[in-house]
Symmetry: none
Subunit: 260 residues, 2 copies
């Protein structure tokens, strides 16, 4: 088999990652759909599912599987997130722009988690209100991690509320890396949940520079909760599929745009 071109040739473990990712996002998968999506026979998918079931990671059903371990639904498995490749590049690009010794504030979200992964090995201080970001850096010898504390917001693993905001206010950060669910010329930065938006806003206020990271699917999208205006953003890091006109307009407004 010729592997290595694009995403056609997967080894078993990659399929498992993808299956778990699909499961984390949708909660259920079907044998037929996975077989087609991954370009392998249904027998192979059944064997994969059986193996994952033996490991207790999925709950097998007729025609597919359900997620078994509730923790699998958490955004901890970075390889399994949507646009994982793009986000990885974004993370690497963002981390490369961080100077040693700087204090970096990180909001939640899987894109920011990729930034955190790329920050491992760099001598930095990371302040975050997201447990998945803290977890990414927990095994780093170099990075120091400060968690804000706060009330845990279920699936997103973000800490919000009075405790989180107060801790953020006690600290000044060189760079705030903000993950958003929508970035729009008209509506600015938005996310899905009000409490997270509020916490992010506090982080932005404490930062010398505000960097926004988001894959192209977030561009020109507006979600319910308003975080802040584009005027506070000093840099936007996205992938190469982001529409050029949008990026040009950002540049015209003085924002440094990076395409990874």
């Amino acid at each position: 088999m010729k592997t290595g071109d694009w995403g056609g040739g997967f080894v078993k473990e990659q399929r498992h990652e993808l299956i778990l990712g699909e499961l984390a996002r949708r909660g259920a998968v079907s044998v037929a759909a996975l077989a087609q999506r991954l370009g392998v026979s249904e027998a192979t998918i059944r064997r994969d599912l059986d193996e994952l079931a033996r490991l207790g990671k999925v709950h097998r059903t007729h025609g597919g599987a359900l997620s078994a371990d509730p923790r699998e639904e958490l955004p901890l498995n970075l390889k399994a997130t949507s646009y994982a490749a793009e986000k990885r590049r974004i993370g690497l690009a963002a981390a490369a722009l961080i100077q040693p010794g700087q204090v970096v504030g990180c909001s939640g979200g899987t894109t920011v988690a990729h930034v955190a992964t790329a920050l491992r090995g760099k001598r930095v201080v990371v302040v975050t209100n997201a447990l998945n970001i803290a977890l990414e850096l927990a095994t780093s010898e170099e990075a120091e991690v400060i968690v804000t504390g706060g009330t845990l917001r279920g699936r997103s693993l973000e800490l919000v509320g009075h405790v989180a905001e107060r801790t953020f206010r006690e600290l000044y950060v060189d760079v705030a890396v903000i993950g958003v669910d929508g970035i729009s010329l008209e509506q600015g930065l938005t996310t899905y949940h009000l409490s997270e938006a509020q916490t992010n806003r506090v982080l932005m206020e404490q930062a010398r520079q505000v960097w926004v990271v988001a894959d192209h699917s977030k561009v020109e999208k507006v979600t319910p909760a308003y975080i802040g205006p584009l005027s506070r953003v000093s840099r936007f890091i996205t992938d190469t599929d982001a529409p050029a006109p949008f990026l040009d307009e950002l540049r015209r407004r003085g924002i440094d745009v990076v395409c990874a």
Copy 2:
């Protein structure tokens, strides 16, 4: 080696660098693709991958390799902990004694993590300084989780320091569930790390009741850092292999002993 080539002549270290780079970028590599890309035989790639695997830098698979996930070293997989069965029973027993609506403070440690797992589905408020405990409850619809914040202490996933202690002091908990590395009649409660001991002590001070959970291997053991005296403990929950004389002495001192 034929050095006269183009860029195809790599020495081992260069290949290793390139493999790790590719792995960091894509998350997975295949033997065949690497062999073609680097212009060497597949046998050489296998040797490279085996060597990198011995160094713990990659995770070997059939047909290629995945980037070694450093998160696997974290105490997140409860089933893989030592004395998992005993700890699970301890967790269930402890959780059964918690009343709905109570506020529970949880320290770190895998035994306490099992308590947290058993608390999922109960309507309680959990205050904790340990990320693994917060994660166990993140998907719970019933339990509310408050994380103290603080400086992340590497592998143990505990938050310590000024922020953690201040948040604890702001709250009163009905029950503090403390995990210890040693419990001794003479030396009281001990753990391995001073900072964690200090944080646990603050939690104990804020609790109406202090429960200690530990499997039998911790009994009559003393570890470097002192947490507090047995006199503050109101209940000790352990497994059935704990030595009876020790438990009798605890009972004599007015501690409620539960063997799960």
